[in-house]
Symmetry: D3
Subunit: 140 residues, 6 copies
Amino acid sequence: MSRVVHITRRERFSAAHKLYNSEWTDEKNQEVFGKCANSNWHGHNYELFVTVKSTINPETGFVMDLKSLSDLLKEKIINHLDHKNLNLDTPFMKNIMSSTENICVAIWDEIQPDIEKKGAELVVIKLQETENNFVEYYGE
Amino acid sequence: MSRVVHITRRERFSAAHKLYNSEWTDEKNQEVFGKCANSNWHGHNYELFVTVKSTINPETGFVMDLKSLSDLLKEKIINHLDHKNLNLDTPFMKNIMSSTENICVAIWDEIQPDIEKKGAELVVIKLQETENNFVEYYGE
Amino acid sequence: MSRVVHITRRERFSAAHKLYNSEWTDEKNQEVFGKCANSNWHGHNYELFVTVKSTINPETGFVMDLKSLSDLLKEKIINHLDHKNLNLDTPFMKNIMSSTENICVAIWDEIQPDIEKKGAELVVIKLQETENNFVEYYGE
Amino acid sequence: MSRVVHITRRERFSAAHKLYNSEWTDEKNQEVFGKCANSNWHGHNYELFVTVKSTINPETGFVMDLKSLSDLLKEKIINHLDHKNLNLDTPFMKNIMSSTENICVAIWDEIQPDIEKKGAELVVIKLQETENNFVEYYGE
Amino acid sequence: MSRVVHITRRERFSAAHKLYNSEWTDEKNQEVFGKCANSNWHGHNYELFVTVKSTINPETGFVMDLKSLSDLLKEKIINHLDHKNLNLDTPFMKNIMSSTENICVAIWDEIQPDIEKKGAELVVIKLQETENNFVEYYGE
Amino acid sequence: MSRVVHITRRERFSAAHKLYNSEWTDEKNQEVFGKCANSNWHGHNYELFVTVKSTINPETGFVMDLKSLSDLLKEKIINHLDHKNLNLDTPFMKNIMSSTENICVAIWDEIQPDIEKKGAELVVIKLQETENNFVEYYGE
């Protein structure tokens, strides 16, 4: 009998960003985004949790080699986010509001095809911005 | 393409309570609830996690304004639970056994209509009582 | 109206293990499992989260008595894993690669019938091996 | 050469209490203690950290047997605090304001002679009330 | 007998910064500070722990009113750091390299006189930058 | 004015070990060490915190370059402990009871001269074995 198991890898990155809609006045940005619109930026230690699922490989006992998953995340995601400015430095966030929601969806789009190529299914991307809030994207 | 994202807000409250079924003898209460039936109460630091989902607003990048969600939770929930006695002080726990399960369901019922009015869908209420146990209610 | 609530109990165990496929050469084991194949073993503090669901018992406010769940987990699971060698000492891991995935599935198989006898439904077993990875098994 | 090492044991308790000075009016209590003066109590999950020091016993490698330290803490402290009302149920808090500071000092006084009898020196009692505040008493 | 107790308050702030010595070439900055020198900034969720000590006030059981300490920290420190750029926006970090060490010392200098005025003694400022590193300043 | 600041680096390792005094009978080992004497080993995720102090380098704002400290810890300590058997594989634990106390002191002895060569002073080694216990060695 083959069992389907979920496995989750945590990675971390520290980045600067701001929330700012360039089609709005400064006043409107201040009103909607508050201190998150600070023109000189602010930043966070983000925690990223990537969950994939698959049947267990009987020879290894693994759903997926975690080192291989971690290497993929470092190359495709962490290298472009860690110690970067999400609004200015990250190719896949170009012209996208850097809300936690949008970063989370962008990460899904960046890695989903690679996870599939490795024979697993991407289940959910969870992105924690502070100890009081996180978002999750299930691919809907 | 519009993506559906889950967002979770954590709030905390410190409260007193006891587990006691007034239709039972003290002996039966002691037998079923053990030290949780202590007549002079005990208490916990509870952690509340409220998860809602919606498509992303393209102008803000938000599923829902977190400050607005936090304000709602403070007004409707935390004000009635924090530094209170759940059995004696909390209107929406009147005549309800103050188990973590029942508190969790009561919180759902208190805020579900307001979340809907804000254009999002309430997904799950998670309530952590100690580091070793938590409950979740998905509205079933 | 009867509500279905999920309740989760955390237990912990500290164990030794190694990843090693006896049908492979040492070189292949080293290549696939890296430092996890260290012949003299290594070990972890594992965190186990067991989630069950049921309607709430109106007399107690409980989905399931947590002490009874904890006692079951200690007797059937923790006693066989804590301060043990998962490859050598654990009856239900005999001849099974001790990957986190396989331990998680084995725990499900050990306790699922007992949870059912108690009138609840086992929802998910989560097993955290380090702060950077965990697996979940939903019975699929 | 004999080395002096510190060892710390964590224990937890969940208790109800309130801050109330019976020589003051309700108004003054409310003004000074705010929501902590709620007449029907509130409560916390407290974390207690007890640190002792001694030279290492060369036969065991131990500063002190942790099981013996934990047993002492359970018998002398946790049994009187866990699932109790600190103002009403705890003998060593009789007629003492149940501030975190006073609980911490009272725990020191309760166990200091026993630690000494076991051949170790009590260094510090740390008591964490919420994730945002804790107190420490070094015996000064 | 009057006992001296330490009390610690935690506050949090999310800020952007970079490490850059303007008297050095870009190459030297890159060599010494690595990714921390990223010209477009990066950021962190900082955790600040402020520890003060004093004898216990017999009327309140307090070393110091925690709300008053928290208010002071918010007014003097958090308002100038949270959702700010430490290099550009923070008055007390003007012309100071924004290393965790220097931020920690600057916070000490900002609040030490106020703590003293409140009748307590500032013991240590601890500043945690990531889960893997923190600094402490004891006023030496 | 030159300020002395403490800086702490956390590293982690996962290892197998057992507590066993070879001059004792199995019965005596069982009696003293209990389940920690399991002949087939057990293991832990250890957390190591290394604290050093020094004046701040005015050019960098650093007490010590954290990357250099981390590299030293990886080379001298983590490489010999992570995914190893502390009793069989670790050169600096040869013929030493692998109690948390002894590991902590051994780590001090391994790195103290290197910290001094880097111009800083080693203050304390903290080693956390489980969430309920840790030891600290200050060089006494």
